[in-house]
Symmetry: C2
Subunit: 274 residues, 2 copies
DNA sequence: CAGTGGTCTAGACCACTAC
DNA sequence: TAGTGGTCTAGACCACTGT
């Protein structure tokens, strides 16, 4: 462990910053460096490895972006604690508030926008709006126990929600009270890296990975009631879904409505082979 | 457009590399820079902005990681072409080969491993193996028309697939011929940034974003037949899923087995507000 | 060959943290 | 105050591309 940063470097195994990145990542994976441990100061690592500080920072910075390390200005660099990963069933149409309540957690909400606005082109298209129609926009940072977990940007036709200020913690609770709860939704999931603004809202470094989920929710009659774009912290969320047989090989089956079984895999910052 | 890189910089709006990053990102978003356009050489940008090349590279590098720019050594830096995003229905249990065939595309496969091996601890746990059991491991890079799209690492109990070399393009086709086709599966989806090895396999820069999908597939009797971990290129894949009403508010419904409707959103490199 | 991106260095100053 | 990470510079050499 004490010679983690000893030479020889430049043993022909690619760029120096890649070699250092690999060494640190392996030390973490093997348990030689444990969560909460501090890394030596960058200047020390540079001196001990014979590399420049810029090169050291390139390796360390990549590990920070991957979520393996945490840097605190004025304090030091530390091995990231294992993240408690939240698993969410994708096949159920639930709200953030309900998800958290089911886990026995409190759900935080910080409003970014809550009012009537002129719709963006994407919202016009998604909600099927006409000229002059307005949207109720509900943008907020959602979290649990003070930790931000997701950015949620919801848009509803103003006709369905003329008083967005009436929305409290749970949009779905209000919709249900008004007999406007959606019964069906289509979600699209993709991966994205976070820009400066969104990263700041979630309290993660720029470039951190996230899950982007776009959801269109429908009323029983088929009308779209909600168009929501969310960004979930990639280091804090898993989404689980149960699949059934492909239709061309047999009849479709109904999805199970029970909770997804727990998974045994070790939780921690998600990263691929370093 | 010609003064995109003119001063004044350091107008108090944060670090210089963030300001430059924002300028370029906005130029792309606004259409001032179009897909295929070339950026000036880094040394030119440095000279015109008055920044050092290191700082310019920090801005450009972030945009490359986000998928907005593409760099080619010896050639130049270019605005990334709009990526053709593939949308895949998550609620159907299909194979990569079938997914591509349904789109009328040819499916490529490059084997990384195809044989019997001693199982990893994760595989023992996922497949419920006993001591001494072996696994058939099928690791490959999958793509379409020569473009790598995903890394797929499948493991099956050796008892169910004693001859992994018999697997051709489609594992599921072989399983079906042997009456071992799974009828149910549980998937877990998360986001991850790519390490050096996986990035190289997919032909994307280190740190690029990906969707990580872990799948456990079950036979009609409930036995696990397949444990697969896949990494899909984040810039090339959307996953779509249809949701139904949460069970506590009504009876569960069956999932739709028809293809997910097309989406109108502009395709392009996924990124959040820069 | 000239030009490009890829890597690396040595040194500097700043902002923040901990004592 | 001393030490830390955050930012930035000027300059160098290499590997590769295109002509």
């Amino acid at each position: 462990m004490d010679d983690l940063f000893a030479g020889p470097f430049d043993s022909g195994a690619g760029p120096l910053y890649v070699q250092l990145h690999r060494r640190i990542a392996q030390a973490i994976a093997s348990g030689a460096l444990r969560p909460g441990d501090g890394l030596p100061p960058e200047r020390d690592i540079a001196a001990r490895t014979g590399l420049s500080r810029v090169t050291v920072r390139k390796s360390v910075g990549a590990l920070v972006a991957e979520g393996a390390l945490i840097q605190r200005r004025g304090s030091g660099t530390f091995i990231a604690p294992p993240v408690e990963r939240l698993e969410q069933a994708l096949s159920l149409l639930t709200s953030f508030t309900e998800d958290m309540a089911r886990r026995g957690r409190h759900s935080d909400s910080r409003w970014l926008a809550r009012g009537l606005h002129a719709p963006s082109p994407a919202e016009v298209m998604a909600l099927g709006l006409g000229a002059g129609d307005q949207v109720a926009r509900l943008d907020r940072v959602r979290g649990s126990d003070g930790v931000p977990l997701a950015i949620e940007r919801a848009a509803l036709p103003a006709q369905l929600l003329p008083d967005p200020q009436a929305v409290g913690d749970s949009l779905y609770a209000l919709l249900q009270a008004r007999d406007l709860r959606p019964v069906r939704a289509v979600q699209r999931i993709s991966a994205a890296s976070l820009g400066a603004e969104d990263a700041a809202l979630l309290g993660v470094p720029v470039g951190a990975v996230s899950l982007r989920i776009e959801r269109r929710s429908y009323l029983p009659g088929g009308r779209i009631v909600e168009y929501t774009r969310s960004l979930y912290r990639g280091d804090a969320y898993d989404f689980a879904v149960e699949l059934t047989l492909a239709p061309q090989s047999g009849a479709p089956k109904s999805v199970a409505s029970h909770p997804v079984p727990p998974h045994p895999s070790p939780s921690g910052p998600e990263r691929t082979a370093p």
